[in-house]
């Protein structure tokens, strides 16, 4: 069985929670399949300029960023840590970190590569990694099973130990169990240069709520006056890490903040939208659409019963361990 590789994004000096969820899923799969689980990081070190050292294994002692996360990744289940050190400033773009990430892929030739679906680099690195190694790609999956773990997405796609080729999977969520082994091997690859000059990141500013591409919860004006439904909608939004948006009436009722008002004509294209009640918004661009309390064409889920009870039941189902 080949290696299982999990890409780890750093949030400051700690692993991103979504990457840790992917690591937890990777742990379950690797234990079930008899594979070694590698946690992989790309770190920036402008002082690293070793000549002729592409892909060269160097001493771990020269990478302070790794020392900070080593114990946490070990406790989260990693068997080994592999680090690509680059002198290119890091940005969550293939153009910035594609080359050092490729160095890790070349070094390990993994059978399965996992990303946290909500990790900053995942949307740029995941599909490109899959295309580069000719792999099957699951966009938002989780580990299921007891003895023989497999990865399944919501559309029926799966990755099993018996599969012939490589796979790349974006993990939606997973619960991890802490292990006690803090002392694991670290492999450090020096990969100087390699940034793609064709893409230049010129600046960044906060995006408008209508431009959110993750999850979104939309509240209808028809239910914005019901404090219990609003409270449940806010809890659901927090659970999904989503903004709660709606029309002016919802803001007037105090259900949403003023900056979360979206006009009827504004097109929305989040990855997931849960519409509670009948929001008068253009949700046709949502990758996945779930309606609570109303029907509609082309939806992935619909709970047509009383809104309050349906949202409460949904919350209960999502929050149960």
């Amino acid at each position: 069985m080949g290696a299982v590789l999990v890409h780890i994004d750093l949030d400051g000096d700690r692993p991103d929670p979504s990457s840790l969820a992917a690591l937890a899923a990777g742990r379950a799969v690797a234990s079930s399949w008899g594979a070694t689980l590698y946690a992989a990081l790309v770190v920036h070190d402008p002082s690293e300029h070793p000549p002729d050292s592409t892909g060269q294994v160097v001493s771990a002692a020269t990478v302070p960023a790794v020392d900070a996360v080593r114990a946490e990744l070990a406790r989260a289940g990693a068997d080994k840590i592999i680090v690509a050190v680059t002198d290119v400033p890091l940005a969550p773009l293939w153009a910035a970190i594609g080359a050092p990430w490729q160095g890790i892929l070349d070094h390990l030739r993994p059978r399965l590569v996992l990303f946290g679906a909500d990790a900053p680099s995942a949307i740029e690195l995941g599909p490109r990694t899959a295309a580069r190694i000719g792999a099957k790609l699951l966009m938002r999956a989780r580990a299921v099973g007891l003895d023989m773990i497999e990865l399944r997405d919501r559309d029926g796609g799966y990755v099993r130990v018996t599969d012939g080729g490589a796979s790349v999977v974006m993990i939606g969520n997973a619960r991890g169990d802490d292990r006690c082994d803090d002392d694991i091997d670290v492999i450090v690859l020096a990969l100087p240069g390699g940034g793609d000059a064709r893409i230049e990141l010129a600046g960044a500013m906060p995006a408008d709520v209508a431009q959110a591409h993750g999850a979104m919860v939309a509240l209808g004006d028809d239910v914005a006056g019901d404090p219990e439904i609003v409270r449940h909608a806010q809890r659901l939004a927090a659970l999904l890490g989503a903004p709660l948006v709606g029309g002016r009436a919802a803001a007037s009722a105090g259900a949403i903040p003023p900056h979360a008002v979206v006009e009827r004509a504004t097109p929305l294209a989040p990855e997931l939208c849960v519409a509670i009640g009948s929001p008068n918004l253009d949700l046709a661009g949502a990758t996945s659409l779930v309606r609570v309390g109303s029907n509609g064409k082309g939806v992935d889920g619909v709970l047509p019963g009383p809104v309050g009870a349906s949202v409460q039941d949904l919350l209960r189902a999502l929050e149960e361990p």
Binding site: P267, A269, S288
Partner: protein
């Protein structure tokens, strides 16, 4: 800069607004060509919307059902034939389109940029704004690149039924040096039906992969 816009292999899921937006974005570039593949009904729609946006169109008629890398092979072959160096992709109309951005870029050895919400050509440079995790990033693109667009067109409730597209340039797989048998290795395995989930348990299962992981609190003594 020669530009092509990949409209994909099937009609939009819910609305043609995003298809129109991608075409309008492509129309900012002189001589851009809209490209689609798939069944004749979809090709007629793609050609019709392209001509309304003032774009030439090319279509690859095929009944193959491919995964992201299979369709990327088709689009990459068309791009080579057209000599296109900048490929725009309508990544919002269907969820399966998004990974095709990276796959086309990989096959053409091009740079990639996803989740772009605004684009403006400026000589040899393309200015693009993309959304990433609550941030609006401004990027400058030079040279060959594949750019995934999430740009909406005007609101539209009903659109006229497209007529057979006489103006669309037809490209068969053989003329693109693509072998359907080889492409068949990227055939999409059958998936579960797209019927809406109608119970709390099934909807919760659908949403479960979107629940954000929470950072565990440090253990006492750790």
């Amino acid at each position: 800069m020669t530009v092509a816009v990949w409209l994909g292999s099937a009609a939009p899921n819910r609305s043609i607004r995003w298809l129109d937006g991608a075409l309008a974005a492509a129309a900012k570039f002189d001589g851009a060509t809209a490209v689609a593949a798939g069944d004749p009904t979809w090709l007629d729609l793609a050609a019709d919307r392209a001509s309304r946006a003032g774009l030439a169109s090319a279509g690859v008629p095929t009944d193959l059902q491919l995964d992201y890398l299979g369709w990327a092979q088709v689009m990459a072959a068309v791009a080579r034939q057209l000599g296109a160096t900048t490929i725009l992709v309508d990544e919002a109309s269907r969820p399966d389109r998004f990974p095709e951005v990276a796959a086309i870029a990989e096959l053409l050895d091009a740079a990639q940029l996803t989740h772009v919400v605004a684009i403006a050509p400026d000589g040899a440079v393309v200015h693009a704004s993309r959304v990433a995790r609550g941030q609006l990033q401004t990027c400058r693109v030079r040279g060959s690149a594949v750019i995934g667009l999430r740009i909406a067109g005007k609101e539209i409730d009903e659109y006229p039924t497209p007529t057979p597209a006489a103006a669309m340039r037809r490209l068969d797989l053989a003329s693109l040096s693509l072998d359907p048998v080889v492409l068949g290795h990227r055939a999409l395995p059958p998936r579960t039906s797209r019927e809406a989930r109608r119970t709390v348990e099934r909807v919760a299962e659908h949403l479960a992969v979107h629940v954000v992981p929470v950072r565990a609190a440090p253990k006492k003594g750790a």
